[in-house]
Symmetry: C2
Subunit: 429 residues, 2 copies
Amino acid sequence: MHYFPYVPFLLFLMFHTDPDYSAAYVVIETDARDGLQGCGLTFTLGKGTEVVVCAVNALAHHVLQKDLRDIVGDFRGFYRQLTSDGQLRWIGPEKGVVHLATAAILNAVWDLWAKQEGKPLWKLLVDMDARTLLSCIDFRYITDVLTEEEAYGESGNGTFCFPEEQMLMHGYPAYTTSCAWLGYSDSTLKQLCAAALKDGWTRFKVKVGADLQDDIRRCRLIRDMIGPENTLMMDANQRWDVPEAVQWMSKLAEFKPLWIEEPTSPDDILGHAAISKALAPLGIGVATGEQCHNRVIFKQLLQAHALQFLQIDSCRLGSVNENLSVLLMAKKFGIPVCPHAGGVGLCELVQHLIIFDYISVSTSLQDRMCEYVDHLHEHFKYPVIIRRASYLPPKDAGYSTEMKEESVKKYQYPDGEVWKLLVLKKTER
Amino acid sequence: MHYFPYVPFLLFLMFHTDPDYSAAYVVIETDARDGLQGCGLTFTLGKGTEVVVCAVNALAHHVLQKDLRDIVGDFRGFYRQLTSDGQLRWIGPEKGVVHLATAAILNAVWDLWAKQEGKPLWKLLVDMDARTLLSCIDFRYITDVLTEEEAYGESGNGTFCFPEEQMLMHGYPAYTTSCAWLGYSDSTLKQLCAAALKDGWTRFKVKVGADLQDDIRRCRLIRDMIGPENTLMMDANQRWDVPEAVQWMSKLAEFKPLWIEEPTSPDDILGHAAISKALAPLGIGVATGEQCHNRVIFKQLLQAHALQFLQIDSCRLGSVNENLSVLLMAKKFGIPVCPHAGGVGLCELVQHLIIFDYISVSTSLQDRMCEYVDHLHEHFKYPVIIRRASYLPPKDAGYSTEMKEESVKKYQYPDGEVWKLLVLKKTER
């Protein structure tokens, strides 16, 4: 049971899609004879993974030669060590590249811990006693909203635990983003919608914000396809300023969206609050989170009533540790968590967090669902399982972060076959 | 006058100090026969410069092979191109490592432009007509507070320009941070204070937040040294949570600080607002900004009445372009700008911005001053000149960003003499 030394092994992958999803993939190996590896990742939209890998290398010394028991035995301390490194703090703190790197490393630690315990990550969390769970969270900068003692009181002084049967039987409800990307033709859109409806999907997200008339046409088409009883969400990917967001969404209100996602800059807490206030009479909520960079931003979004749906991200926040603090704050403010997924592996990871949230924190499915994109799962050793538009709880030990050996080999930079072909093609031109 | 192609030349420097200040230094060369180079930098606290350099390289293609006239002719467009790169945006946006890299590149562009115009940067800005000046600013995400048209109206429809004589004669008032770092002995502190008073300094900043009793002793000592008529500021470097900040500062109120700087997380707009409100009856203002990562954060700090002194940073925000937008917003809200300086070259750079602010935007010195740290100026070709505790306006063309050739050679990684010695020492151990 000696878990030192750690040996991180870094690479990045690129998949042929638009955008060119890429990922910094961290593998932690130990000298234990159990053959277990901790795998963690954070993804980018293509370029930039080399910058994240550089940051992982700058942080790696915090993990090397450490014993896993020491890390998880004082997980808050370890988290603080990574996020408050005296010198690296300047190039964050707790945001952007260094925080993405922190996420990749910590995701690998959690994967290893869960594997060592022989449990899927969600079950490791569900079974954990409240004191241990809370000891993973850095409450720094959020104690004005939630203290450790208050969170402990809320837990009923024991374990955070409620029956799991519902989850195991029906899974966690998902919604699909795959039907209505910008740029899809109307016929593609119709075709994808029809297929999704047939597969049992009832919640659909459409991208908006490039052209109002185009949005109106596409939203009408989708609403007609899915009917009034199904749920429609809209996603603007930060395209608008605050006044523009309100004007634009007023024009799309007739299609009854449940929420508008990322209407403006992810840093604009007060802007989201103004949009929320203006759109409330139209019955439209505001959702955001995939680019909210830490718990301090989420704390304020909650304090300012700036969102009605909170979208955690398993690779932007500081891994499970920071996501736990956000789940607990959302619970306190009564705001449903509807995780961001897609990218590379986000579905695989975040399903663990939201299943834990249901069983042990929110205990409700009201207004809750997890994003799903049918993309790149083939590269993962334990890919998500979707049944009747729901995530089935993973049964394999770990955080579902491990990639298939052949995918790693093929897509690794710069030696992977895919990269070599790319270089060859470029040379031939 | 052909200013293409650009050739960025990247390196980093490390100086033997604690922390080990380091800088990503960008040099832009062109094919013009004027021999001019644009020099830009952003500094770090030691580690992390390699990550920033990696990000500069990822962004460099936006500058290479471009004509300077095209860049400054559509500076807003160029700014947007750098900050909204479709793929790199994911690892920001406009924050942390990528934004520091953006600052380094744009600082080099501004230096080159000012050199080409044969003016110090502050004078280039002062002489610019309002339309041109505003065309450098990306108003994206701030139009709910300030639009281009409103800013143009405020400028009196012509140039932003007021008399410069006052500035040229007396300079811009500075304050010193060099007397009272944490860890200085009482005798060092007394000695430094006495020397500073003798040199004409009237404004002093003391670091606080590690130990309350120690703070009380040191603040009493400094206040006794400088007397009641001089100004004392305090700086906590993000050490506290919100409630703790209020409690701690209540205990230090007797020493009459003008402000408490960085009481908590730089991301916590609502936290700073709560602290401001609680400390106002004690006559203590809140100052922050050196780690506020973009104009959207500053916009909200102003909207929420979260600060009484705004501290811009010339190497964290997106260069002159983004700082201009913050100066104009601060003017609208009537909040004095008191820039952050120190680090590597911050004094050299930010003096240009604050001198422009006085001449063309705020036209007031009320409650205004610029930080000064007497440190590392010897490496700059055009170092700051301080007379009677004031910055004298630079007269040399450019942004004062250019380093001495011998310093670059000596401290460049990994070939500089200083680095070779470090490696040698490490090998000998």
